[in-house]
Subunit: 237 residues, 2 copies
Amino acid sequence: AGLGGIGLDTSKGIVKAGPKNLVILDRIENPAAIAELKAINPKVTVTFYPYDVTVPLAETKKLLTTIFAKLKTVDLLINGAGILNDHQIELTIAINFTGLVNTTTAIMDFWDKRKGGPGGAIANICSVTGFNAIYQVPVYSASKAAVVSFTSSLAKLAPITGVIAYSINPGITKTTLVHKFNSWLDVEPRVAELLDEHPTQTTTQCAQKFVKAIEANQNGAIWKLDLGRLDAVNWTK
Amino acid sequence: AGLGGIGLDTSKGIVKAGPKNLVILDRIENPAAIAELKAINPKVTVTFYPYDVTVPLAETKKLLTTIFAKLKTVDLLINGAGILNDHQIELTIAINFTGLVNTTTAIMDFWDKRKGGPGGAIANICSVTGFNAIYQVPVYSASKAAVVSFTSSLAKLAPITGVIAYSINPGITKTTLVHKFNSWLDVEPRVAELLDEHPTQTTTQCAQKFVKAIEANQNGAIWKLDLGRLDAVNWTK
């Protein structure tokens, strides 16, 4: 898990639910947020490791080796790193898509049942723009379509790998991500303001449903978290 | 256009249709193929430039400056570079997704009506795996979901940019691409053989329908080219 807008509130919800360990991976350490998490439930060991999802696969594997050596078992990976800025094509794709694929690929070394691993569960934070694009940010939306597709494929591979997967797809949520952002080639300079006119949800509402989706632990689910609701998307094509 | 399996046959069809110019962009020059194209219709000027879609945006813009200076006008861009090899995560994403976005972004400098450009048309070669993933190649399929989404967003931006866009989505086609390829983490070592057991189409059949889709020039169309047929996908979500 991370410490972004949805990430921090979701981490609070997870700590309340009371796992043995919660490992926070993010680019920048935020000791105040970590302390806050620790204070919520002293029974949960909260640790932080700096992690940038754009590093090469080998580096991610090294970090995971450290984490697995310390915790022995890891039950759930939440891939939640994301940026929204269509002026930054390469970075958007590197963080939102390649980073998620690489982190997933790296953890398979430890989880894949074909290698004697115990299996595991992956919650990928995608976005409703993965199926209903915000066309003013076509690169962001496309990167989210990619990870929705990738997650559904992962779920179909669960019988082979022993690793289940589901996607968490928030609608417009009042995070710093959507406060101000650039459209592709400035096709719509007011895109952030226009989104703000739509009904939105708070990060608290979104995080609450997120925890419910984690508890459901349902392989292949495409969870839509919008307007404070949690719905399973039934995709018929 | 390029000179891959579907690319060469489609280029032949385009030359027969008789535009003033056809510019072939591909990583490696293939003089025999270029000569073959020139022989089909001597009225069409066929030129070749080496182009690797993974180069930085600035380099693509430089190449396009050369091409636009020579031709004065360009009516259609076909983005067709693609690889299928889920052992190569970064390269798959760089060619199939980032390369297509960057080439599109670069040509907007010349076409965008907000800059006084004349508009244009973009045919993006995606894949049916963009909407029905082959889950044994989840990275490839996800990269194709990304470009299907990106193309649909481009189409919605046409009123702003003056540039229309549609996607060409071939089903399984007898190309060198599907002859032999790697699944993600070798989840299915026989994936290429298994695909071969499905009904397929030849590159000639696919190219024929491709030319029809180009002639239709329909903004926002999601063309499915499968089993020798051409169908518009109506996506209701």
